[in-house]
Amino acid sequence: MGEISGYMTHEHRECDELFAKAEAAVDAGNWAAADTEFTAYDNLTRLHLRREEEVLFPAFETRTGMTTGPTAMMRMEHNQIRAFLVSMTEALADRDSEMFLGEAETLMILTQQHNMKEEQILYPMTDRTLDTDAPSVVDQMRDVE
C-alpha cells in the first residue's frame, strides 16, 4: 500500500470506530457517552475531509490537470457527509434516537461507498501520480488542524 493510501485508509478506519461507538451509545440510550463519542467522530471526520480538500486534492489536481474528475465527485460527497453531521448533531441535541440512528445508517452507507472509491481508486491514483512527493503530501496533511 502506498504512503497516501496507508495514511488515509487508517484514518477511515479510525472514523469508523468512533462512528460505531457513537451509534452504539445512542442505541443504548447512553447520551453522555454519545455526546463524547460523536464529538470525537465529528471532529476527526471534518479534519479528514479538510486534509483531502486543502492538501491532497489540490496536489493531485495540479499534477494531473484534472479538476472536474474524481476529486469533484468526492468534494460533492463531502458536502453530503457534512450535511449528515449537522443533522446528527441536531438529533443528538434533541435526544432523538430514531432520527439519529436513521441518519447514521444512511451516512454509514454513503461513507462506506465513498471510502471504497477513495481506497480502491483515488488514493492509489494519488500515490502513483504524486510518486516521490507523496511523503511530503502526507506531512502537509498531518499539519492540517
Binding site: A20, T64, G69, E105, I109, Q112, Q113, I121, T129
Partner: protein, 454 residues
C-alpha cells in the same frame, strides 16, 4: 465529462499500471432510473407469495417426491419469479454503479425482460400445476424471450468489465444462466409434450441455476455489498480473483463428468464446487465477525443465515459424494433443496433488499432535491424513515418460521405442507408490503421536494 485518459505530468507507471485507470470516476451518476431495478423488486415478492399459496393448495401430495408438478411449479415461482427477477434488477443496477459500464439499452431491455420472466413463470406454473400444456408452452416462449433480451445485454456489459472481480463473477453467472435457460426450456418443452422429457438433465439444470447463476452472482455482488452494507473489511483479493472462476470450472467439470459418465471427473467437479461455495460462505461469515458497527442489523442476520445454510449444503454435497448421505432419498433431497433455495438464496436476496431498496430510494431523492435546487432547504427522508426497522424484523422472523415449517413438512408431510405453504406466502407477502411501503414513502417525499419553494 472529464476525459479519463492520463494527463499527468512526470509520474512513472509502476508495473505498467495506468496512472488513472479507466474506471477512475464512479458512477452513481450512471445508475439507471429508480424504476428500472425497483419494478423487479416490487413484483418479485408477490410471485414468491404465489409459490407459497400454490404449495398450500396442493398440500401433502406436493412433497411426495421432488418431481411433483405442483412442487416444480411452486419452486420455480420462488427461484425464477423471486430470485431471478430480483437478480436481473440487481445486475442492471450494480454493473453501472460498480464498474461504470451500463447494461446496454437497459431502459427498455430491463422492463421487457422482467415482464417476460414474470409472465413466463406464471404461465409455466399454471401449465405445470394445472396440467395445461398450452400454458406451459406460452411460459416457455415468454421465459426464453425475456431471458434472451437480458442475457446478451448483460454479457456485453460484463465483458467490458471483466477486469473487475464483480464484473467477472457476474459474467460467469450470466453464462451459467444461458445453460440454465437452455436446459430449462428444453425440460419445459418435454413437460409440454414437444420433445421427450429428459429427467436426467434436471440435476444439471438445477446445479447451474443455484450454483452457477445464483451462487456466482451472489459472490460477485457480495464483493461490493457486504463491505458496503454490513461495514466489514473487503474480501481477500485471492477470494475475489479466483473463487468465482473455480466454481464455474468445477460446474463445467461436473457436467462433463455427468454427461460423459466419467464418475471421477464428476466427483472432482462437484466436490470442488461445494468447496468453493463453502469457502465463500466461511469467508463471508468470518468477515461478518469483523463488522465495525455494533448495532444489530437485519441484513447481517439474513446473510448469516444464508451463509450458514450454504455451508451446510456444501457439507451435504461432499457427504453425498463420499456415500455418507443419500441425496436421492426424497426427504433428504427436499431438505437439501429447502436449505439451498429458501435458506441460502432467498435469505441473502431478502437481506440485500432491506438495504438496497431504501438506499437507492434515498439516493434518488437526493438527486431530485439537487435538480430542484433545494439541497439544504429540504430534508430528504433517511433510510430508516423510508423503511422503519420494525417491518424487516417482523418479516425476517416470518422467514425463519417459513424455513422451519418447510423442514418439518419435508420430514413429516401431511398437513404440515399446507402450513409450510402458508408460512412461505406470509414470508413473501410481508416482504412485498415492506417494499411497497418504501415506494409509497418515496413518492410522498418526492412530491414534498418537488413542491418546495426554490
Amino acid at each position: 465529462m472529464e476525459s479519463r485518459r492520463c494527463r499527468c505530468r512526470g509520474g512513472r507507471q509502476p508495473n505498467h499500471q495506468p496512472l488513472i485507470p479507466a474506471n477512475a470516476d464512479l458512477h452513481f451518476d450512471r445508475m439507471p432510473p429508480l424504476w428500472v431495478p425497483l419494478r423487479a423488486f416490487l413484483i418479485a415478492p408477490f410471485l414468491g407469495l404465489g409459490g407459497g399459496l400454490l404449495l398450500a393448495s396442493a398440500g401433502d401430495a406436493a412433497f411426495s417426491s421432488r418431481w411433483t408438478a405442483s412442487l416444480l411449479a411452486s419452486a420455480h415461482l420462488i427461484t425464477l419469479g423471486f430470485i431471478t427477477l430480483v437478480m436481473i434488477g440487481a445486475v442492471i443496477q450494480v454493473l453501472p454503479v460498480v464498474t461504470g459500464v451500463p447494461v446496454p439499452a437497459s431502459n427498455w431491455v430491463a422492463p421487457a425482460s422482467q415482464f417476460g420472466v414474470a409472465l413466463g413463470v406464471i404461465a409455466m406454473a399454471w401449465g405445470l400445476n394445472g396440467g395445461l400444456p398450452v400454458a406451459g408452452r406460452v411460459g416457455a416462449v415468454l421465459l426464453a424471450a425475456g431471458l434472451s433480451l437480458f442475457v446478451p445485454a448483460a454479457l456485453i456489459a460484463a465483458w467490458k468489465t471483466r477486469h473487475n472481480p464483480t464484473g467477472r463473477a457476474m459474467g460467469l453467472s450470466i453464462l451459467s444462466l444461458i445453460a440454465v435457460a437452455g436446459l430449462g426450456v428444453f425440460l419445459l418443452a418435454g413437460h409440454a409434450g414437444w420433445v421427450p422429457l429428459r429427467r436426467d438433465l434436471t440435476d444439471i439444470h438445477a446445479a447451474w441455476a443455484l450454483g452457477g447463476w445464483v451462487g456466482l452472482l451472489v459472490m460477485g455482488v457480495s464483493f461490493q455489498v457486504v463491505p458496503l452494507f454490513q461495514v466489514t473489511p473487503s474480501y481477500p483479493r485471492v477470494v475475489e480473483k479466483y473463487l468465482p472462476a473455480v466454481g464455474f470450472l468445477a460446474l463445467l467439470a461436473w457436467t462433463a463428468g455427468r454427461l460423459g459418465r466419467w464418475a471421477l471427473v464428476a466427483n472432482i467437479g462437484i466436490v470442488s464446487l461445494a468447496l468453493s461455495l463453502g469457502t465463500y460462505a466461511a469467508v463471508t461469515l468470518w468477515l461478518q465477525t469483523q463488522r465495525r458497527r455494533k448495532l444489530r442489523d437485519i441484513t447481517t442476520d439474513a446473510w448469516r443465515l444464508g451463509m450458514g445454510c450454504l455451508g451446510l449444503v456444501g457439507l451435504a454435497t461432499i457427504a453425498a459424494t463420499f456415500g455418507v448421505l443419500d441425496l436421492l432419498e426424497p426427504r433428504t433431497s427436499l431438505t437439501f433443496g429447502i436449505l439451498l433455495v429458501m435458506g441460502f438464496a432467498v435469505s441473502v436476496v431478502q437481506g440485500m433488499l432491506y438495504k438496497i431498496v431504501p438506499f437507492l430510494s434515498w439516493l434518488h431523492l437526493q438527486n431530485v432535491a439537487t435538480h430542484r435546487g433545494v439541497v439544504g432547504q429540504v430534508k430528504v427522508k433517511n433510510m430508516r424513515q423510508l423503511l422503519p426497522v420494525k417491518g424487516p424484523r417482523r418479516q425476517f422472523a416470518s422467514h425463519l418460521v417459513a424455513i422451519g415449517a418447510l423442514l418439518i413438512a419435508a420430514w413429516f408431510g401431511g398437513f404440515w405442507v399446507r402450513i409450510a405453504g402458508l408460512a412461505v406466502a406470509v414470508d413473501f407477502g410481508l416482504l412485498g408490503i415492506e417494499v411497497v411501503g418504501v415506494v409509497r414513502r418515496y413518492r410522498e417525499d418526492e412530491a414534498r421536494i418537488l413542491s418546495a419553494p426554490q
